[in-house]
C-alpha cells in the first residue's frame, strides 16, 4: 500500500515536471476557415521548436473573439475583424493578418463552363430578382453559352459564418439595393433560397440541385472540383478566383495600423473582388513571460516561413507589402512591458 502510493506520487511528480519543465502549452480558439492551415503550422512549428506546443480549438470566429476577450485563451482567431463594440471590451487587442481567403460563387448547370457574372447580376440573383438562368442579364455576359430555361435555386449558409460576412460585405458594396435590404453580417435575412449548414451543406445543395447557385470558400470549391463563376472587377474585366488573384486583391489595399480593413471589390489588375484577410487576435502586451515570447516568435515565423505552406492548402499568402507592415506590428508587441523582437529585423 505504502509502496504503491510512493510509486504513484513519483509518477505524478515526473509527469508534472515533464509538462511544466520541458513543454509549454499555448492555447488558441476561433475561426474554422483557416483551421487546416493553422493545424499544419502548429505541427510544423512544434517539429522546429519541440518545447512549444500550440493547442487550437476551431469553434468559430465568434467564440474565438469571446474567449480572447475573457482571456481564457492565449490567442483568438477570426475571419471578420472585430467590431468597435467588441474592441472596446478587449482593450489592447491587436489583429495580425495571417493569410487571405476568398469566397467563390459555385453553380450547377450541366454543360455550362466558365459562367461570367457582373456584380449587378450576382446581387440580382441573391436578391431573388433574377430567377431564371436564361435571364437577359446573365445571357448578356455569357454570349454563346447554353443557358437553360430553368429556375435558379439559391443556396446560402444557414449558420453564422465569416464566409457570409465577406460575401454580404461585397454585395453591400456593389449593390445599394442589397445594402438597404439584407445588409452585411455573419447571419443576414436572406431574401431568397435555401440554407445549408457549413460549406459542406451549401456544397451538398449545389451538387444535388440542378440550377443551383451558392457561395463557398475557395479551398472548398477547389477540393470538391465545383465549377466556379468569374466575377467582373472594377476595371470591367472578368477575374477567375485563384491564389494569385486573391493575393493581388490585397496588394493595392491600404492597411491601417489595426488591419481592420475590407478588401472586397478591391482595385488593381487581376484582383479577385471577394477576398478577405483572416486574423489572429493577440494582446499588445503579453501577460505571461514565457508563453508570450513564444507566441510572438511563432507569429513571426507564421508570416514568413509559414506563408509557404499556404498555397498548397488553397490559401493565398500575404503580399510582400503586407508582410513588411506586419513585421513592424510584431516588433511592437511586448511581453510584460518589454519588446521581444529587434526592430531592425
Amino acid at each position: 500500500m505504502e509502496k504503491s502510493r510512493v510509486a504513484l506520487l513519483s509518477t505524478l511528480a515526473l509527469a508534472s515536471a515533464a509538462l511544466a519543465g520541458d513543454k509549454m502549452l499555448i492555447t488558441g480558439a476561433g475561426a474554422t476557415f483557416p483551421f487546416p492551415l493553422y493545424s499544419k503550422w502548429f505541427s510544423d512549428y512544434n517539429k522546429l521548436h519541440p518545447e512549444v506546443q500550440i493547442n487550437y480549438q476551431s469553434i468559430g470566429s465568434g467564440g474565438g473573439i469571446k474567449q480572447i476577450t475573457e482571456k481564457t485563451v492565449d490567442f483568438g482567431a477570426s475571419d471578420a475583424p472585430m467590431s468597435d463594440e467588441e474592441m472596446a471590451k478587449a482593450p489592447g487587442i491587436q489583429h495580425i493578418p495571417t493569410v487571405l481567403g476568398a469566397v467563390v460563387v459555385v453553380y450547377n448547370v450541366p454543360g455550362l463552363e466558365g459562367l461570367k457574372l457582373t456584380p449587378e447580376t450576382l446581387s440580382g440573383i441573391f436578391l431573388g430578382r433574377i430567377s431564371r438562368w436564361n435571364d437577359p442579364a446573365i445571357a448578356h455576359d455569357n454570349k454563346g453559352a447554353k443557358l437553360p430555361d430553368s429556375a435558379i435555386a439559391v443556396a446560402h449558409r444557414s449558420d453564422g459564418s465569416g464566409t457570409t460576412a465577406v460575401f454580404t460585405d461585397y454585395l453591400s458594396k456593389v449593390s445599394p439595393e442589397w445594402k438597404s435590404g439584407p445588409g452585411a453580417g455573419k447571419s443576414v435575412s436572406w431574401p431568397a433560397g435555401l440554407g445549408g449548414k457549413g460549406n459542406e451543406g451549401v456544397t451538398g445543395i449545389v451538387k444535388q440541385t440542378q440550377g443551383a447557385i451558392g457561395y463557398v470558400e475557395l479551398a472548398y470549391a477547389n477540393q470538391n472540383k465545383l465549377p466556379v463563376a468569374e466575377l467582373r472587377d472594377r476595371d470591367g474585366k472578368f477575374v477567375k478566383p485563384s491564389i494569385e488573384t486573391v493575393s493581388a486583391a490585397a496588394e493595392k489595399a491600404v492597411l491601417p495600423d489595426d488591419y481592420r480593413v475590407s478588401i472586397t471589390d478591391a482595385p488593381g489588375a487581376n484582383a479577385y473582388p471577394i477576398s478577405a484577410f483572416t486574423y489572429l487576435l493577440v494582446y499588445q502586451d503579453q501577460p505571461d513571460g514565457v508563453k508570450g515570447e513564444a507566441l510572438v516568435r511563432f507569429l513571426w515565423w507564421a508570416v514568413h516561413d509559414g506563408q509557404k505552406l499556404a498555397a498548397p492548402l488553397d490559401y493565398a499568402p500575404l503580399p510582400a507589402a503586407a508582410v513588411r507592415k506586419v513585421e513592424q506590428t510584431l516588433a511592437k508587441l511586448t511581453v510584460q512591458g518589454k519588446r521581444v523582437l529587434a526592430t531592425s529585423k
Binding site: 449558420d159 445588409g183 447571419s187 435575412s189
Partner: protein, 330 residues
C-alpha cells in the same frame, strides 16, 4: 429520458407511494432518506438553473421587443437586430405534427401485429432492428435523408403529390426536396422505434383474461383488439406518442440538414422552413453582440416552454384516458 417502465409504474401511483413512504427509523435510514431527497431536488434545481440563466441572457432582447411581439413576429434580421420567432415555432410544430401523423399509425399497427398476431419467433426477429433504429445517431439520419430521401422526394414523391393532391394548399410549389416534408418524414422514421417499443410493452400488460373474455363472447380477432386490447392500452399508447413527440420537438441535427433553413412561413409542405433547435445550433457559434445571443437564448426558453406545455397536456390526456379502461371493465 423517460422509459417504458416509468409509464407502466405510474399506473398505480397510490399503492407504490405507500410502500415507498419513509419509515421513522434509525439514523442511517434517515440519512439515506435525506440524501435521496437532496438528489431528487437536484434535478429540479438543474432545470431551474437552466431557466434562470436563459431568462437572464434573453431579458435584454425581450425587454426591447416585448415577449408578445418576439413570439408572434415573423422577421428574423440579425443585421438590424430585429427578432421574431414565429417561423421557427411554426416549423417546429409542423414538422413534429407531420412526424406523429406518419409514425403513430405505423408504430401502433406494428406493435399490434407483433403482440397480437405474429408468431413469437417473428417478434424477436423484428424487434431487433427496431431497437437498432433507435440507436442510430441523428447526423446519420440527416446524411441518409440528404442523399437518399431528398432526391426521392424531389424526383418522385413531391411531383406525384402535386399531381394528385395539388388542389390542397399543402402540396403546391416547386419540388425542391429540402423542406417541411423531408424533415417530417425523417422525424417520423426517428421516432418510430420509440413509439413502437413502448407500445409493445404497453400491449403486453393487457391481461390475457380480457382477450379471452372478448373471444368467449364471440368477438373476432379485430373486435378483440378494438374492444378489449386498445381501450386498456390507450393511456400507455398516448404516453408513447408523447415521448415520440418530445424527441421530434428537440431533434436538431437531422432537421437542420433537411428543412432548408429558411425563416419563412408557408402552407406548402414542399417549401423550406426552419425550426427552433436548428436556428440555435446554426447561429449560436458565431453570435456576437448581446442581442443576437439573447434572442437565441430566448428561443431556447421558448423551446423549453413548448416542451413543458406539451408534457403537461400529455399528463392530462393520459389521466383522462386512464378512466377509459375502468369504464370498460365495469
Amino acid at each position: 429520458m423517460q422509459r417504458a417502465s416509468d409509464i407502466l409504474t405510474v399506473r398505480k401511483p397510490g399503492r407504490l407511494s405507500r410502500i415507498a413512504a419513509p419509515v421513522r427509523g434509525n439514523l442511517p435510514d434517515r440519512a439515506w432518506a435525506a440524501l435521496l431527497t437532496v438528489l431528487g431536488l437536484a434535478v429540479l434545481a438543474v432545470a431551474a438553473v437552466i431557466v434562470v440563466e436563459l431568462w437572464r441572457l434573453s431579458s435584454a432582447v425581450l425587454a426591447k421587443t416585448g415577449l408578445f411581439s418576439f413570439v408572434f413576429a415573423s422577421h428574423w434580421d440579425v443585421v438590424r437586430d430585429l427578432y421574431g420567432a414565429l417561423p421557427f415555432i411554426y416549423g417546429t410544430l409542423v414538422t413534429s405534427c407531420l412526424a406523429l401523423l406518419l409514425a403513430v399509425p405505423v408504430s401502433v399497427g406494428l406493435a399490434l401485429f407483433l403482440t397480437e398476431m405474429s408468431p413469437p419467433r417473428v417478434r424477436s426477429i423484428v424487434s431487433f432492428p427496431i431497437g437498432l433504429l433507435a440507436g442510430i445517431p441523428s447526423v446519420v439520419y440527416g446524411l441518409w435523408g440528404l442523399f437518399v430521401l431528398v432526391p426521392l422526394l424531389r424526383g418522385h414523391v413531391e411531383p406525384g403529390l402535386a399531381r394528385t393532391l395539388g388542389f390542397l394548399p399543402f402540396f403546391r410549389g416547386p419540388p425542391i426536396g429540402l423542406g417541411y416534408l423531408a424533415a417530417g418524414v425523417i422525424l417520423a422514421i426517428m421516432i418510430l422505434p420509440t413509439i413502437t417499443s413502448i407500445a409493445i410493452e404497453v400491449l403486453r400488460t393487457v391481461p390475457l383474461s380480457l382477450r379471452e373474455a372478448a373471444l368467449a363472447l364471440g368477438a373476432t380477432r379485430w373486435e378483440t383488439i378494438r374492444i378489449a386490447v386498445l381501450p386498456y392500452a390507450r393511456a400507455g399508447i398516448l404516453g408513447a406518442t408523447i415521448l415520440g413527440l418530445g424527441r421530434a420537438l428537440g431533434e436538431t441535427m437531422a432537421v437542420t440538414m433537411l428543412i432548408g433553413n429558411s425563416p419563412t412561413i408557408s402552407a406548402s409542405l414542399f417549401a423550406p422552413g426552419y425550426s427552433l433547435p436548428a436556428v440555435i445550433a446554426n447561429e449560436f457559434a458565431e453570435a456576437s453582440g448581446g442581442l443576437h445571443t439573447g434572442a437565441l437564448a430566448a428561443l431556447g426558453l421558448l423551446l423549453f416552454a413548448v416542451t413543458l406545455l406539451l408534457n403537461i397536456a400529455a399528463r392530462l390526456l393520459v389521466r383522462i384516458s386512464r378512466r377509459g379502461p375502468a369504464r370498460v371493465a365495469a
